[in-house]
Point group: C2
Chain length 401, copies 2
């Protein structure tokens, strides 16, 4: 027997082109039936007008604590001599002192992401000797405020290094204790200068606390691959396949074909996923090759209008377009792959429970004015409605509370 | 004495941050005065509400004849063995047979561009043995229809080669005779297999007809540079500095620093401009290096949803973002440079008369919801109003006739 429904969403065009009725009870999809084929009763009936219905977007990598989005314009200042993470972190500290309160900036960024259709997110939050757990506590508070709008995973992110910044290892461990979900890392070799010690700490906390790992890795070519090998080795040794991600992994974009295939094979076997935001002026991981090898590739906005760069719009559909644009994805299957990166693959990397348009899944979905998914990826239509647990949370770019 | 004004646009925030009144007479800017500082009389008074006012965008490279925009979705089909321009042209011929009438598709694309803020455009139009002058005649008709909305230059484009497709040289010459403004070309070496003969024909028509040149050049590395050298030599020999453009010029993106600088110097000395759309999965010209050397770099959407690729939105502000994104432009000056590429530099490359926000210029401008130009480039705000010769021609994405 069909359970009593809260809402029937009728006239919902699925990616397969068929128009369905979606029955929702207790925030979950309990029925999906071709429109009008089954008589359904519910407290509320919402006509989606034949819009394309897609799963909620997964914002897999963002920094809620450091964006200026919604704040005054703070001009970018380049590093004195080429790119230097230390100098950038110092610039970020200066900017945080003149920026609006973190909680307001985080809310602005969350409103942007929710309005664009993200229903789940992984945010890195800086934990280091200077800010301690202060930023994390602020973002934990915001997460609570937004709990009915978006699911948020928080990564304890050692922006100033672990070994370079005494006390950070303990703070990261404590961060997990007070509510962070994932343990982070940052360029174990180039930044912290001791990849073994850095990774031992990261995986040590993960093992002790039973949490996932997501490591920022900007290192190029062979150095990046060396670190990825070390990450894969530890992942397999601890039986953490499916629980570890490497963010950016630029080095994978520097490899010739055979070396890239070997790295992809290793990542697939180790169950280590790769996050790329398809950067514009940088080599980046070969998305198609990795996916073909069975690697989970997910994506995120990364920085939005912050001390690292001025770009970003918090739109994961636009991000799918950029992934396709940068990867040379032209066919319908390729465009659908770019869309998968920001939805299903993202959900897999974040191990989200109940993501997708299936019976039993959470009723988190977005309506789009597009004929089908490939058309949505190239056109990036606006005018979306966003539903979280069956409730309208945003329409036409505005969050509804 | 101030001439009698048709319209006063008040509360217009210029890129310099100052709020002005703009007086327009006969479609041109006749006064620019700090708001309220001078008493002005006019038939009509329009309050721009403090919006940022910027010059109309220059869409410097588009194909009005071959887009499917506004038509049914036609899936992309990759070439059988790598990229092959001949195979692509054949695929395009097939698609043109099943697509909606060219005039409808061209109108859809023009509406898109006008609504996004383009007030001037250069479109390549295929001229070859199979289509003859038919496409050009259709696009000439559309140009006439849109004459009050956007200025359009048309390039007689030998999509099937000049030497490879007998009769094309004569057709291109005839194309200029019936209204095309610019003579085109296509990969003189890799496609037509005889760069000297190809360029002799192109520059021969240009010299005979007194028109500008704009050559598609996809060739990589040294082959691309060889062709550019030949183009520069002919440009200087004919005194055509400022009248010649190379579109795409991917080869410039393959060069190491010293070779790139030498090429830039040659282009600057020869007055040959470079068009790039900042492609996603391809090396492309080094925009900052070229600009620093004094080369005019302009941009365009290129293909929009056609047989070559499925991307494109006809938004030159979004294109400025992509140029900056792909070029690693982060500072305010760099973001302003990306904006210059789609406005002032575009106007220079197309030799547009009266472009810009100055007294005497044509009253072609766009209002943006942005604090200043760098913010507009990263945010790509919608909700624009577009004025052509002082008349509102589009608002919020809709063309007003």
């Amino acid at each position: 027997m069909t359970p009593p429904l809260d809402t029937i969403f009728t006239n919902a065009r699925f990616p397969d082109g068929i128009i369905y009725d979606i029955g929702v009870a207790d925030g979950r999809i309990s029925t999906i039936t071709p429109m009008g084929s089954v008589a359904l009763e519910a407290k509320e009936r919402i006509d989606l007008g034949g819009s394309l219905v897609v799963p909620g977007f997964v914002e897999g990598h963002i920094h809620l604590d450091t964006s200026f989005y919604g704040d005054k314009w703070i001009p970018h200042k380049p590093c004195t001599n080429g790119f230097d993470v230390h100098e950038r972190v110092a610039f970020q500290h200066q900017n945080m002192a003149i920026a609006a309160p973190m909680i307001e900036r985080a809310r602005s960024q969350l409103d942007l992401c929710v309005a664009n259709g993200a229903t789940a997110m992984r945010s890195h939050v800086m934990v280091d000797g200077s800010v301690g757990l202060k930023s994390l506590k602020t973002i934990l508070q915001v997460r609570e405020e937004y709990r009915d709008l978006i699911d948020i995973q928080l990564v304890a992110f050692p922006q100033s290094g672990i070994l370079k910044c005494p006390g950070t290892a303990e703070l990261m461990d404590e961060a997990i204790g007070i509510g962070a979900d994932v343990v982070g890392g940052l360029d174990p070799a180039s930044f912290d200068r001791d990849p073994v010690a850095h990774l031992d700490i990261v995986f040590g906390i993960a093992e002790k606390r039973g949490v996932d790992v997501d490591i920022h890795l900007h290192d190029a070519g062979a150095l990046g691959v060396f670190t990825i090998e070390e990450i894969c080795t530890r992942t397999r040794a601890l039986g953490m396949q499916g629980h570890v991600a490497v963010s950016h992994a630029y080095g994978l974009g520097d490899l010739l074909a055979d070396a890239a295939s070997r790295a992809a094979e290793m990542l697939a076997t180790s169950g280590v996923s790769i996050m790329t935001n398809a950067p514009g002026a940088h080599n980046f991981p070969p998305v198609a090759l990795l996916r073909a090898a069975g690697v989970t590739v997910f994506s995120g906005s990364d920085n939005i209008r912050d001390s690292w760069w001025p770009y970003g719009d918090g739109d994961m559909l636009g991000r799918a377009m950029l992934i396709g644009y940068r990867s040379g994805f032209y066919t319908d299957d390729e465009l659908a792959a770019a869309f998968d990166v920001v939805t299903t693959a993202g959900a897999k990397a974040l191990r989200l429970e109940g993501h997708g348009l299936t019976v039993g899944a959470r009723a988190d979905f977005v309506t789009l004015a597009a004929e089908h998914i490939p058309a949505a990826v190239v056109a990036v239509p606006r005018g979306r409605s966003v539903y979280k647990a069956g409730r309208l949370v945003a329409r036409d770019g505005k969050v509804i509370r």
